[in-house]
């Protein structure tokens, strides 16, 4: 790679770049502060029920009779029709991978040897395109496909707390069918 520097043009002032060495030399005056940002989020009615049902080992959605969508995650108002949603609807704990990634970097910027596989999974029983974010496991990274059928793997009831992680992960439904799934 070739890096070149250019003379400043009109309207561009440089500013003063620092690098890590400048900070170590102790000539730059610094101050640091870590605010204690601890939050207690209220779930609201929809999430409150969603999490309670997860603890029971079930996925639940809400429907809007006007636009006829079955929505997951559930919500008490329909954002398209701008009216209250109507009914609670249980949906299946199976679905189809809409998109996925193989992530080698953790949330706190550490390198991972084995990738995490986040995916958007369209849930059976909800309207088409209604996906949720979750993690896929028990499949080789190179075998994950958009369109792959997956099922939720639940934590044992005693370990569930009323959280999206009461589903430990999703795995391919039919191991045999993986070999016959086409490349694209």
């Amino acid at each position: 790679m070739i890096h070149r520097t250019i003379k400043p043009e009109p309207n561009i002032v440089q500013g003063t770049p620092l690098d890590a060495k400048d900070l170590k030399r102790g000539k730059i005056f610094l101050n640091s502060y870590a605010p204690a940002l601890r939050y207690t989020w209220d779930t609201g009615e929809a999430m409150g029920r969603y999490l309670a049902e997860l603890k029971n080992g079930r996925l639940i959605a809400r429907s809007c009779r006007k636009c006829e969508r079955v929505m997951i995650p559930p919500r008490m108002f329909c954002e398209r029709c701008f009216r209250p949603t109507d009914d609670w609807v249980y949906v299946k704990a199976t679905g189809t991978v809409n998109t996925f990634s193989l992530c080698y970097v953790s949330w706190d910027v550490r390198r991972l040897k084995q990738p995490e596989i986040p995916a958007v999974i369209e849930i059976d029983g909800a309207s088409p395109g209604m996906g949720i974010l979750h993690l896929v496991r028990k499949v080789a990274p190179k075998d994950v496909r958009i369109g792959m059928r997956v099922a939720a793997v639940w934590k044992p009831p005693a370990q569930r707390t009323g959280s999206i992680t009461d589903i430990a992960y999703w795995m391919p439904i039919n191991r045999r069918s993986q070999r016959t799934v086409s490349a694209k």
């Binding site: 790679m1 070739i2 890096h3 070149r4 520097t5 250019i6 003379k7 400043p8 043009e9 309207n11 561009i12 002032v13 440089q14 500013g15 003063t16 770049p17 620092l18 690098d19 400048d22 730059i28 640091s32 502060y33 939050y39 989020w41 779930t43 999430m47 969603y50 999490l51 929505m71 995650p73 919500r75 954002e79 809409n98 998109t99 996925f100 990634s101 193989l102 992530c103 080698y104 970097v105 949330w107 706190d108 910027v109 990738p115 986040p118 995916a119 958007v120 395109g129 209604m130 996906g131 949720i132 974010l133 979750h134 993690l135 990274p141 958009i146 959280s163 999206i164 992680t165 694209k184």
Partner: protein
């Protein structure tokens, strides 16, 4: 604008002032000739200053003036210019100073950590997601839907980093190849390291003036012909991410205002938002400058090169110049300004470009903000 860099000595307020002062000096104006100031800056968490807008006001020329802060994630840089435009076009002000600033180096260990609360606390945060996930998930969907290869995406990094070599503010201008991009480490497949823009400190500013005032100040005013913005649902897992509907809506809002009926023919330069390489292509399609799925082919054919039929990101973009969140979008507006006046130096696109479009994007794959600028004054 300032140089975009990984870490600046200047405080956020000083960065804002450097850019704002440079804008005023280039227009040969004094601060007391400015009627109102607009600031665009992303969450307080990055610079670590609560009530960041109020803190930055001094550096934006906001001292004892009507002052507005706006924020729509990465869309801010273009959105702030639209906000300034309202104030002048409404007849309320004759002049406005629009400044966008970000100092991401304050946020330790990495600005990523501040982003964790962009995810829903109930349905997403317990999965310990990081921001790379949503870009990777979107890129995968886009590639899969249109059968786009990684090589085609990598070309954006090559083009933009090369273009950035001509930009004096650039943080990451470089001559690289498609092979280099694909050899760079996989962050979150299908995203490779050289497809990602850096975090940066920096600021950019523009001076806006009503028609008669502008004509007195310069013989080559650049006119804002159209503005548009549109926000999609935060339920991002309920959408098909392969196409940014919200960019299309924002674009048509701006094009309609500008009287543009065939964007591909009437726009001479485009500066779409490129925080990740694939995003430039994704946004070009939303901007109606390429049919769905066709942007990669047009790029490969050289249409989007600086000397091509429709130069795209001649500045070098976020990939090459840098990504201080709010300032990046304004950098694109600055680029169109210099290009349309023939003042872009080594980056100048040939011919006499008359009309350009700048677009920024942000949030949970949610907002499109668009501004159309041109050399011709819009009719009333």
């Amino acid at each position: 604008m300032t140089k975009f860099m990984r870490r600046a000595l200047e405080t956020p307020k000083e960065l804002a002032w450097l850019a704002a002062k440079a804008a005023l000096d280039s227009a040969e104006m004094k601060l007391d000739q400015i009627d109102g100031a607009v600031l665009g800056s992303a969450p307080d968490a990055f610079d670590g200053m609560h009530m960041k807008g109020e803190y930055l006001a001094d550096g934006c020329g906001g001292w004892r003036k009507p002052y507005l802060r706006c924020y729509v994630g990465g869309g801010t840089g273009v959105y702030a210019v639209a906000q300034g435009w309202f104030q002048v076009a409404s007849g309320l002000f004759d002049t406005a100073l629009v400044v966008c600033e970000e100092k991401m180096s304050t946020c330790q260990p990495h600005p990523q950590a501040a982003f964790i609360s962009i995810f829903d606390p109930f349905t997403e945060q317990p999965l310990k997601p990081n921001l790379l996930w949503i870009f990777a998930l979107e890129q995968n969907r886009y590639m899969q839907t249109h059968h786009i290869t990684l090589e085609e995406i990598a070309r954006v990094s090559v083009k933009n980093k090369r273009n950035a070599l001509g930009h004096p503010s650039a943080q990451l201008g470089a001559e690289i190849t498609v092979k280099d991009v694909l050899a760079s480490e996989v962050m979150a497949w299908p995203v490779h390291r050289l497809m990602v823009s850096p975090t940066s400190d920096g600021a950019a500013a523009v001076v806006l003036a009503a028609g008669d005032v502008a004509r007195r100040l310069t013989s080559k005013p650049v006119w804002i012909q159209g503005v548009g913005w549109c926000l999609d649902t935060a339920y991002w897992t309920n959408r098909d991410l392969y196409y940014p509907e919200y960019v299309e809506k924002a674009a048509w809002m701006a094009y309609r205002m500008a009287g543009v009926k065939e964007p591909r023919r009437e726009i001479n330069i485009a500066e779409p938002y490129d925080p990740f390489a694939y995003k430039e292509l994704h946004h070009l399609e939303g901007l109606q400058l390429a049919p769905k799925g066709q942007a990669p082919k047009l790029l490969a054919d050289g249409v989007f090169d600086r000397d091509g039929d429709l130069p795209v990101t001649p500045s070098g973009g976020l990939l090459g110049v840098g990504n201080p969140i709010a300032a990046a979008g304004t950098m694109k507006i600055c680029e169109l300004f210099w290009q349309l006046r023939g003042e872009a130096g080594r980056r100048q696109v040939p011919g006499k470009p008359e009309r350009g479009v700048a677009q920024a994007w942000g949030d949970l794959m949610q907002v499109g903000t668009v501004v159309v600028v041109g050399t011709r004054e819009p009719k009333r």
